[in-house]
Symmetry: C2
């Protein structure tokens, strides 16, 4: 079967791992790297910081960046626990941009604990947790990862912020700058990095991204659903910790500070597979895979 | 209505166009810029280089980069005219990556005129047609536009190549490097620029992108449709010039060498709208809008 892209195949790791050059060995793929990763290279997201967006099509699992944007994470969890999102709908799907869900009518009262806030940059201790990538970036002086999320850093101010990459989830806002988290969006197109430092990103989709990205596009202005289009209802939004263990999605995320992740990055930056005739030698922050697995198989 | 992104609003063009500063004037949006563009800033794609991919959901209009990759364009038109694609199906939809259609069974003979070729870089005269952007790029020394398509250039070799941005269409290949165009794909996720100089891009989707990007994702390896999934059939692929005028889609594309396009670029690079609290001051090649309009309204 011919393919426009041969998948994730790289030159044999045997060349690295063994003094004997084994050019006939099966190429090592990212899947092979992941399969060979020690258990310690994987982490289980905190159930208290994991959201389940329950759609008729299935469950979307979102990890909140609770350390980076604590007020928004607290707000969103309070909203979920107040059943604020239940029965709302996905009201906007703009091609090559984003999927948005909120109370379009502004009828629902916000719980009194909700505090509008500005969290364009991460918490004060984020600079110490930031893991720098060696690769350049167009929008920021430095890029890398914060708590497993794609992020950027300004070396002069030491401020760190999450980056608008595919699958990231944010808190929509009007002008002024404050947001609550009651309006949420997920990014489904080419990374709109111009939004960095302009919106509070609150997490990312770990599983079920295709349930959002394959939704029918809205035909109204900016991808809002027009009259006659049927929005996708939100059955519920739940904090995973509030569900009994058996109803939770078993999920693990590759640690961005692990040796396996560094090997994945090396493989994706330098493409030595025979299929590649030109080696890019670089990787864009938003092209870095952030592997997730579901041990339970669902 | 609150939005996570206020659309395309910029400071009043009156400041530029009039000696009287009118700070109260309605902000000028990209839509306003386009509405005010002279007719000469728009071009009508050559019907001989326009493809209609006819799906049950509607028509996808593709402009071939016929000057940049003449052999692939000739091949694809010959295939379309031989009805090669008719009755085939979209067999792969990989989330955040691409949509692929071809003869999975390899049963269909290729017309004798089809020549496998390597067109990773554009035609020899492309360097003279290349329009340079001032913005930097991670994957190439220079980026800009070639014949209206996003492209990159190496100033040492003067070679130019099309860039893997959202909506671009390419010719899949196995290893070795040659491709015919009989396997086609369209990009539906974050720009996989690592494929630049590794695959022949052949054009881009001008209209109907959402018919491809919202297709159900394949659950098989690399997004291929698994057994039990119903691939989207291709009713036909046609060269627009072969249809009577009344059956063609009226379409116009903003010229990338026009003053209007430069104004759009300026607006998108420097975000002066009040909503933006941080001005990116830069734009990624694959975040540049390439406006299209359908004068007939369909």
């Amino acid at each position: 079967m011919r393919r426009f892209h041969q998948g994730l195949v790289l030159c044999s790791m045997a060349i690295v791992l063994s003094p004997v050059l084994d050019l006939e060995a099966k190429p090592v793929t990212v899947d092979d790297l992941l399969a060979g990763a020690p258990a310690a290279d994987w982490r289980t997201p905190n159930a208290e910081d994991t959201l389940y967006l329950e759609l008729p099509q299935g469950r979307v699992v979102i990890e909140l960046a609770a350390a980076a944007v604590p007020q928004h994470a607290a707000n969103i969890k309070a909203l979920a626990r107040a059943h604020y999102f239940d029965g709302l709908a996905i009201i906007r799907v703009q091609d090559n941009y984003g999927v948005q869900w909120d109370d379009e009518s502004h009828q629902r009262p916000l719980p009194p604990s909700i505090k509008p806030s500005v969290e364009f940059t991460a918490d004060a201790k984020a600079a110490k947790r930031f893991q720098l990538l060696p690769d350049r970036d167009l929008y920021a002086a430095q890029v890398g990862f914060l708590d497993g999320f794609p992020a950027a850093r300004d070396p002069r101010t030491h401020s760190v912020w999450l980056a608008h990459c595919y699958g990231m989830v944010g808190a929509g806002r009007d002008d002024p700058a404050e947001s609550t988290g009651a309006e949420m969006y997920a990014l489904i197109g080419n990374a709109p990095r111009q939004l960095d430092l302009n919106v509070a990103l609150v997490g990312r989709v770990l599983k079920g991204m295709e349930l959002l990205s394959a939704l029918p596009r809205g035909t109204g202005e900016m991808g809002f659903y027009a009259a006659g289009q049927v929005p996708t209802p939100i059955n519920a939004m739940r904090v995973a910790a509030d569900l009994p263990e058996r109803e939770r999605t078993q999920i693990e995320v590759l640690r961005t500070d692990s040796a396996t992740f560094r090997a994945v990055l090396d493989q994706r930056r330098d493409r030595h597979e025979p299929w590649f005739k030109h080696n890019p030698g670089v990787i864009d922050l938003c092209n870095v895979p952030l592997p997730v697995r579901t041990p339970g198989g669902h």
